[in-house]
């Protein structure tokens, strides 16, 4: 049981450090900016993997150019910075999806649940660890609102109100969508394939 819970806590554990780093970076401290980058980037990249698949790194790079440029505009704490950066990353991802117009290869959210890679033979095996690809396949099987809610809550580490602001929805709707998404995934993992 332990590993998953520790990871969930770990995602949000750096918010204080992040807030301080952002403040120093806004005062011009280059090293502090690097600290903020390293705290935020894993969650941002994970979120983008769920949105645009293989092109997540490119979209993240574009997002960071905007974040770096507009850093002086931001007001808020560490948790706020996660929300602000996730919004910028999401807008970049949606731009990319609009530009493509057609269903792209490797867009995790639009892949078919039946194409889940490498199913595990027993629930016990599946719950010990998940590969990135398998986790993406799971998330891809969710309705889009549930997938984004799960990604923002769990992978980026936003609370319900910050996730709601990123998505332009009510916190209650995001809470429900994340809960339904996780419930559905738990059920899937619990069923023999």
């Amino acid at each position: 049981m332990g590993q998953g819970r520790r990871e969930t806590r770990r995602v949000r554990a750096y918010d204080k450090e992040l807030g301080e780093a952002v403040e120093r970076a806004q005062d011009g401290d280059e090293a502090a900016f690097a600290v903020a980058y390293r705290i935020v980037q894993p969650g941002l990249l994970g979120y983008l993997r769920g949105l645009v698949g293989d092109e997540a790194e490119d979209v993240a790079s574009d997002a960071w150019l905007e974040i770096s440029r507009d850093l002086g505009r931001f007001k808020g704490d560490g948790a706020g910075f996660r929300g602000w950066t996730a919004t910028i990353a999401r807008n970049r991802a949606l731009d990319l999806l609009r530009r493509r117009r057609v269903r792209p290869r490797g867009t995790a959210l639009e892949e078919d649940v039946l194409e889940l890679p490498g199913p595990y033979s027993t629930p016990d095996q599946a719950l010990e660890t998940l590969s990135t690809e398998y986790a993406l396949g799971l998330v891809a099987g969710l309705p889009r609102d549930q997938a984004e809610a799960v990604l923002l809550r769990v992978v980026v580490g936003l609370d319900a109100s910050a996730a709601a602001r990123v998505l332009g929805k009510r916190p209650g709707a995001v809470r429900t969508a994340a809960h339904r998404g996780l419930k559905r995934l738990a059920r899937q993992l619990g069923e023999p394939t």
Binding site: Y37, G43, G46, F74, D77, A135, V150, R153, V154, G157
Partner: protein, 61 residues
């Protein structure tokens, strides 16, 4: 039968799953750090960080 116990167990399973998803999808940081820092330095040294106004979407207080 105890409904509360099974609800607790389900919630625990979902929390565990959330942690596993986070661990799997947060793997790696890519290699955009240097470009991001270069953009930061450019904006800083041009004074953009001091002059760009906070718009509604930038205020997360």
């Amino acid at each position: 039968m105890n409904g509360d116990d099974s609800a607790d167990a389900r919630r625990a399973q979902e929390r565990e799953l959330a942690g596993l998803l986070a661990a799997a999808l947060r793997a790696g940081t890519g290699d955009g750090e240097r470009a991001a820092i270069a953009a930061f330095l450019l904006a800083r040294d041009s004074g953009a960080h001091r002059t760009a106004p906070t718009r509604r979407q930038d205020d997360w207080r």
